[in-house]
C-alpha cells in the first residue's frame, strides 16, 4: 500500500523530520525531501508542523535538522515520538524550555 506523504526530511543527516499534517500515534507516515527511510511509524501523536524523531536520541544528544544542531535533548527521545519543548532545549535561549509545550506562551513571566 502506498503511504501518504506526511513528513519532510530536509537533510540526510537529520534525526528529525517535520510533519506536513497531523500524524496519529501508530500511523506509518511517508517521508519526502532528502530522506533515508521511506517512512516512519509514529510512537505518539505529532501535531502539524512539529518534529518527529527519525531515530532514538539519548538525553543530552543533539537534535539535528537542516544538517545543523538546533538544540539538545533534555530526555531520552524514542524513535517516532514528538520532539518539542518538553524533551529538548535551545543551546542559547535559556527561556525556551520554560514555555508552554502547546501554546509556546511564557510561564516565567506574570503579566497580572
Amino acid at each position: 500500500m502506498e503511504k501518504e506523504i506526511k513528513a519532510f526530511q530536509i537533510d540526510l543527516g537529520d534525526n528529525v523530520a517535520t510533519a506536513l499534517a497531523g500524524i496519529k500515534a501508530g500511523q506509518e507516515a511517508g517521508l519526502t525531501g532528502d530522506h533515508g527511510e521511506e517512512s516512519i511509524k509514529a510512537a505518539t501523536d505529532i501535531p502539524a508542523g512539529h518534529k518527529i524523531a527519525l531515530k532514538d536520541i539519548g538525553a543530552g544528544g543533539h537534535i539535528v535538522k537542516y544538517g545543523v544542531v538546533i538544540g539538545r535533548a533534555t530526555a531520552d527521545i524514542p524513535k517516532g515520538s514528538w520532539v518539542h519543548l518538553h524533551v529538548m532545549q535551545s543551546i542559547y535561549d535559556e527561556r525556551s524550555s520554560h514555555l508552554d509545550v502547546r501554546t509556546g506562551a511564557p510561564k516565567d513571566t506574570k503579566y497580572e
Binding site: I10, T32, I91, D93, E94
Partner: protein, 414 residues
Amino acid sequence: MSSEEKRMELTEWSWQGYGRKHGAPGIRNRVLVIYTVKCSEFVARRIVEESGHPDVELVGFDGCTDNQYAVDLLISLIKHPNVGAVLTVGLGCEYIQPQWLADVAVKEGKEASWMSIQQEGGTKPTVTKGTAWVRETLERLKHTPRVRMGFKDLVIGAECGGSDYTSGLAGNVVVGRFFDRLVDLGGCAIFEEIVEAIGLDGLLVGRAADPEAARELRYTYDKALDYCRSVRQYSVSPGNFAGGLSTIEEKSMGAVIKSGSRPIEGVLKVSVPPKHGGLWLLDSTPDPHFMQFGITNPNDNEGLMDLISCGAHIVFLVTGRGNVVGSAVAPCIKITGNHETFSRMEEDMDFDASPILYGGMSQKEMALDLAAYVAGTAGGTPTKSEVLGHKEFYIPYKYQEKEVAYKRACEGSV
C-alpha cells in the same frame, strides 16, 4: 517550456526600466511626497490623495528632533532608482529641513520641489500648490528615458515575517535557490535579520567571501547575540513555538536558508548601498550607543524599508501565516510555502512555493517560476499589494553607524 529552456533563457530575459541621470536604472517611476515631521504628515498625505495616481507615494519621519539614521534613510529613498521625483513638505521649524532634502534630489538629477506649511499659509494653500506640482511632474515623468534591464541590473532584498514551519522548508528555500541564480547572473541579493541567525555563526562566517567579510560577519553576529542575551529575548515568539519550531537555532536555520549558498560579500548597514553585486547581509540591529536608540526589527515594514534603503528594486516577504503589507518605493512580492495560507489569502499572496513540499515540483523549477514572477514585476506588472494600493513605510528613531562599528560610539577615544 522545459525548466532547462527556461534556465538557459534567464540571462537573455530583459524588460524596459527607467534611466536615471546618476546611478542604476529603476523599475518604477515614482513621485515621493515626503513629510519631514509628524506635523506636516496630514498635508503631505492629502497631496498624495488629491493626486490620485498610483505612482505618487507618501513617506516621512515623525520625529522633530534630529536623528541621523532617519535622515540617511530618507536620503536613500530620494536616491533610490525607482524614484523619479521628490516633493518635500515640512512644517517649518523641525530639524529635518525640506529644502535640504529637495537639494539632494536635484543633485541626483531628479525633479524636485519643497514647501514649508508655515510659509505657504497653512493646510489649503499648501495642498493646492503641492497637488498642482505633482500633476505637472507626472506629465514630465512620461518623458523619462527607457532603458533595457536584465537580472544582472537587479538588487533584491528578502526578509521573512509571520513564519511557520513551511517558511524554512519551502518559502525561504525557494528564495535561496533564486538568490543563487541571481548572484550567478551578476545581480545583487540582500538578506537580513542577523538576530535570526543565532546559533549559525560558524556557518555564516564560513561563507565569507574574504577575510574582511569574515571579520564583519563575526562582529555583527556577536553584537546580535549580545543584544539578545542582554534583553533575554530571542527572535522567536509563542506563535513560532506553537507552530512547531522548538528553538531559536531551528528558526534561524529556516531564516538563513533564504540567503542561498553563495559567498557573503560583507555586511551592509541601513541606507548604505552595496559596493558591487553578489550576496550581502544587511545588519538592521542598532549599534551600541549611550542612548541605546532603537529596537532591532520593530515590524515587517521596518525590515522592508531597510532593504529598500540599500537600493533594493524589489523586496520579498516570505510568510507562513500570511501577511497583507506592501511597501512604498519598491514592489513587495509575498511568498508562502503554506498552501492553505495562499488559498485563504490569494488576493494578497503573490507566490505559492508549497509544491516543493509534496514532491510536485523540484526546488530548481520553483526558483525558475519565481524568476519569471520577478521579471514580470520588474517589467511593470503590479504585485498583489500594488494592485490593492498597499504603500506602507516605517522609519523609526534608531542609532546606527554607517560602517561595521567595531568600537562602541559611547566608548569614545579611550
